[in-house]
């Protein structure tokens, strides 16, 4: 009877996620792109009118944000907090690091590079994190990371403004367990900024129909020279 109050609202949020159609909608939005109601209906596997109801409830609870544009409505996750909660639920759902089921993206392109909410994932992202760590630009601890002075300089040269202004308090550098690689990659403001900048530079391009990222030749060269990707980073992990 002690803390029923907080339990209540927790239940409301969890209940919203606890429906297959809505969970599919939210999972689709974990890709980081804004999607239209119709696309989400397709992902959810239910009719548009049903989806519309779900989206209204999700928006009401501020789990997603909506943006009108012409006769489309674009939906996206409302905040990184929501993405993190979904991530945590996926971790629990996967049964912890228990079953080493070789699921994860089976598509080779997805394994190589993809988006994860607002940052990069896949072998490329893991290799980037490894390279930055090996060169002492970041220090990765459990769940988060610290950008060193040399790293700050490097990233500034690369063109990402770390901008420590305590705006919004979105964590600067977080690590995120890569589904396919089972090793950490970079998330947080830093991870998001890296993806933004890489897209700007044309080093990676979004696939139109999936979360995959295509690495351009320029990106291949650029990432290697800028961040020192370890040799053979494209290969499957030893384990």
């Amino acid at each position: 009877m002690s803390n029923m109050v907080s339990g209540n609202t927790v239940a409301e949020v969890a209940r919203l996620i606890g429906d297959v159609a809505r969970a599919n909608i939210l999972s689709a939005l974990m890709g980081g792109q804004a999607l239209t109601a119709g696309e989400l209906a397709h992902h959810a596997g239910v009719t548009p009118q049903t989806t519309s109801g779900h989206l209204a409830r999700l928006a009401e609870a501020e789990l997603v944000k909506v943006e009108k544009q012409g006769r489309h409505r674009y939906y996206r996750l409302a905040s990184a907090d929501v993405a993190q909660a979904l991530h945590a639920l996926m971790t629990v759902a996967a049964g912890g690091p228990k079953r080493h089921r070789p699921i994860g993206p089976r598509d080779a392109a997805l394994r190589l590079a993809r988006t994860c909410y607002d940052h990069m994932a896949g072998r490329l992202a893991v290799a980037l994190a490894d390279g930055l760590r090996a060169n002492g630009h970041v220090i990765l601890t459990d769940g988060a990371g610290l950008v060193t002075d040399t790293g700050r300089r490097l990233l500034c040269d690369f063109g990402v403004a770390l901008d420590d202004g305590a705006k919004g308090r979105r964590p600067l550098c977080r690590t995120c367990l890569d589904w396919s690689e089972r090793r950490p990659h970079l998330a947080g403001r830093l991870g998001a900024a890296l993806l933004d900048r890489a897209l700007d530079l044309g080093w990676v391009h979004r696939a139109t129909d999936s979360r995959a990222l295509r690495l351009s030749p320029a990106g291949e060269r650029g990432f290697s020279s800028a961040f020192g990707l370890p040799p053979g980073w494209r290969d499957a992990p030893a384990a």
Copy 2:
């Protein structure tokens, strides 16, 4: 239609949490202690037989673990992953750092020191984190922390074995946003070890009926001399 598979199991987990009674049960277990089915029924606000059904489902899904002892059954959260997922959901439920509603534990004792799953929370825990950080024993980044060499030595002297053996891969040092203080305190293996050791030393004692921790005079002296609590740490935060 792409990733419906993972969405499915995410939905199952979230659905389990998405019931008021079950959410209350899990919230109660966030205290870190194992509780009997009867106590949980009380927390949930439903009859024992209803609670029994809920607990069976939670155990089936491995969100909680059960341990028979005489004619009692003690339940606890199954893993730190579950605690983290609940924490993330609470964060979303609280509406992010949006509404600064002065909720949080209203009881003064709870504000001062309490348990949070398996580690300490409240002003004491925040002050401990501050002290360790101020003296360069840990470096706190967003969501995690790094124990320095001096910190490692200090903690070893204090009697906690950090034991880097990659056993279980439970993160060593994490930070956790304190509900009442809105500032980070220490969690992870380190946070759990600190609570254990403090209980062993008799520096804090568990209250019988709540998550509150009572700080003993020895603890007051001990924490101050060992970790350098900032002066006036008992006072309400400036904000």
